[in-house]
């Protein structure tokens, strides 16, 4: 069973990669990959009161979602969305667990409201006025591929454009020792049922038993393994190369996702 859609906008932000053009230059071999701490912009779409409340993971998700939708020329207010993250806001989670372990157990109501896994999707909806359906997923290390499958089925079945936002951020200690995500990394894409003027490529996806693709470059392979959202990198490499081809993406223990890319001329 093959699912098909067009990639019509991309956003990337992670260690040493501040946007899709930079990521594309690295993944196509034009520039070497130089790891450096991810730099997260303050989202301009939120009012001052909301900006004060948000953590790193929300800044990450909004930055890549804005990059992808502006490339696609899509009005975010009309766009259905799929957010997928392995862990949400790790710092916020730590602060709540810490407060609950102390006498008094005084916790901040804002922290509690922000602890929902769909916080980034909520702020995206508030900031852009998006009233369409929005789903928020988690599949641990398979979160990117699970999000891609959800977005593709929505494009194929409902014939609507869908914004996919996959993003992960670090936990502070002591949770960091149990879930060692080192920084933030995210990838966003606008998937459309028809080819558009800004479409990069057509993507055809199907479940597979083949081994997943890896990188020969040790820094890029380390990046792929460090963040669930970075399991998208073999797909992004194909999109950057603009020559077409096939990538096998990591998914669950029993299956992978094969994605075939055909660039739009």
């Amino acid at each position: 069973m093959t699912l098909s859609a067009y990639v019509s906008g991309l956003g990337v932000l992670g260690p040493g990669l501040s946007n899709w053009p930079e990521a594309a230059a690295v993944l196509s071999g034009e520039h070497p990959y130089r790891p450096a701490a991810a730099v997260l912009p303050m989202p301009t779409i939120l009012a001052a009161a909301e900006r004060r409340r948000i953590g790193r993971v929300v800044k990450l998700a909004l930055a890549i979602a804005l990059e992808a939708t502006s490339q696609a020329g899509e009005d975010p207010a009309e766009l259905a969305s799929v957010f997928s993250s392995s862990g949400g806001d790790g710092h916020n989670c730590h602060e709540l667990c810490q407060a609950l372990s102390l006498a008094g157990r005084e916790i901040s109501p804002t922290r509690f409201a922000n602890s929902v896994h769909n916080a980034a999707a909520g702020y995206w909806s508030i900031g852009t006025g998006a009233t369409a359906e929005s789903n928020v997923l988690c599949a641990f290390d398979a979160s990117f591929t699970a999000g891609l499958l959800e977005a593709l089925t929505q494009v194929v079945v409902d014939q609507v454009p869908v914004l996919l936002v996959a993003y992960d951020s670090e936990y502070p200690q002591p949770l960091h020792a149990k879930r060692p995500i080192p920084d933030t990394f995210g990838v966003a894409m606008v998937l459309t049922p028809q080819r558009r003027v800004p479409s990069f490529a057509r993507v055809d996806a199907a479940l597979s038993d083949l081994e997943c693709d890896r990188f020969a470059d040790p820094d890029l392979e380390a990046l792929r393994c460090a963040f669930p959202a970075a399991r998208a990198l073999p797909l992004l490499r194909l999109l950057a190369a603009r020559t077409g081809g096939t990538a096998i993406l990591e998914y669950l223990d029993v299956s992978r996702l094969e994605v075939r890319i055909e660039p739009c001329a």
């Binding site: 392995s86 862990g87 005084e106 916080a119 999707a121 702020y123 508030i126 369409a132 641990f140 149990k178």
Partner: protein
């Protein structure tokens, strides 16, 4: 949308383990809420606790999944022959052709809350026995169930706060319709923990008394826990008229506030209208509405406005949260099962604990059970972040 069949379903909450006990409680208008004595919690509130959760045994090879949330999932899986029904589906369709779509908001966060009390006094480290991925992580309950049931299809957790386990039906529907799978284990599991009990208390959204949805004196929610599962398949040619079908799903976002609903219920209205459109039904086709009805002043006010704007003031509606409590990430699936029981048994369950209906709420809230044919039910679930989902269920014949 093409209707889907509720092939099997089960629910375990504070009003009963399995559908027979759940139905009996609904018929008797019995509430499962009681004064909170959970763990070391010291706030004045009522909760819907499932008895015996921590006695449930996970299989030895899945010991890493040990936490209250997965124990509750295991407890519920054993009711109504649900585990066996999933095995039959896996044998019929193939293990790769059955997906797992589980809604949760808490997952096993209680395990982390407890581990934070056991941190090493010098290093601050969590105890070595603490497992993050199979307990705390939102995917843990979906991962537990796919391993427990040996399913190899696509699997995911949906975590959209209190709409989570309504929205799983949308994810499963799209995968079935796209042809990736033939059956789906769909549901929700949410369990008591300190984060939600103290969190809703910090927002002044939990009531010191059992919650009273739509009451003039309503003052907040009662938190509950539940696990509810549905085996979803395409509608076969030879269909029993008593079967329950999923006829429509509608989703929307408020674009308004993180923890407060839109004051006029615009997002709720859009979700209900989208569900009606997906089912190709008119408002008059709905016999009963199972409300989100949390019992907070703001939710009930905005939901009542949204309901009345579409259905007018005569369609009977009620919230079953006075009986079960608000089971958060499990509420959508629990109330889908209650809606299926309403359809099968011709029962509109009256809202428990509501003494005097708020006269400013114009929706037709019922406090007493009604026995009448129920051809179609609409069930609402809304969550923090302004996420909304409405389901429409109906009789096959």
């Amino acid at each position: 949308m093409r209707p889907l069949l509720f092939k099997n379903f089960t629910a375990t909450s504070c009003i009963g383990k399995g559908v027979a006990a759940t139905l009996a409680s609904l018929l008797e208008q019995r509430s499962g809420l009681k004064n909170c004595e959970f763990e070391t919690v010291d706030i004045e509130t009522h909760i819907g606790e499932v008895p015996g959760v921590d006695d449930a045994r996970l299989p030895d090879h899945l010991y890493k999944f040990e936490c209250r949330n997965n124990r509750l999932a295991e407890l519920a899986l054993q009711e109504d022959g649900f585990f066996d029904a999933v095995q039959q589906a896996a044998e019929r369709w193939g293990r790769r052709r059955v997906g797992v779509f589980l809604g949760t908001s808490t997952a096993g966060i209680l395990q982390t809350e407890l581990a934070y009390r056991e941190r090493d006094p010098v290093s601050g480290a969590l105890p070595p026995s603490f497992e993050y991925g199979s307990t705390h992580n939102s995917f843990s309950v979906a991962d537990y169930l796919r391993r427990r049931c040996r399913l190899e299809g696509p699997a995911v957790a949906v975590s959209c706060a209190c709409a989570s386990s309504a929205k799983v039906f949308g994810s499963a529907r799209r995968m079935i319709e796209a042809g990736l799978i033939d059956a789906a284990l769909v549901g929700g599991v949410d369990s008591l923990c300190l984060t939600t009990l103290y969190g809703f208390h910090s927002l002044q959204l939990s009531s010191p008394t059992p919650c009273r949805p739509f009451d003039v004196a309503r003052d907040g929610i009662s938190i509950g826990e539940a696990a509810a599962f549905v085996l979803l398949e395409r509608v076969p040619a030879d269909l029993d008229g008593d079967s329950v079908l999923l006829l429509g799903i509608g989703e929307s976002s408020d674009a308004y506030h993180m923890s407060a609903p839109h004051p006029e219920g615009l997002g709720a209205r859009r979700a209900m209208q989208a569900a009606l459109a997906a089912a190709a039904l008119e408002p008059g086709d709905i016999d009963y509405i199972n409300l989100h009805g949390t019992g907070t002043p703001s939710n009930d006010r905005s939901e009542s406005q949204a309901v009345t704007s579409i259905f007018g003031p005569t369609t009977p509606c009620s919230s079953t949260k006075g009986a079960t409590g608000h089971t958060l990430g499990a509420a959508g699936a629990l109330e889908a099962v209650i809606s299926a029981l309403a359809v099968q048994n011709g029962l509109m369950p009256g809202g428990v604990h509501t003494n005097k209906i708020d006269p400013t709420l114009t929706a037709h809230y019922i406090r007493d059970n009604r026995r009448a044919p129920v051809a179609r039910v609409l069930s609402n679930s809304f969550g923090f972040g302004g996420t909304n989902c409405s389901l429409i269920l109906g009789r096959a014949g």
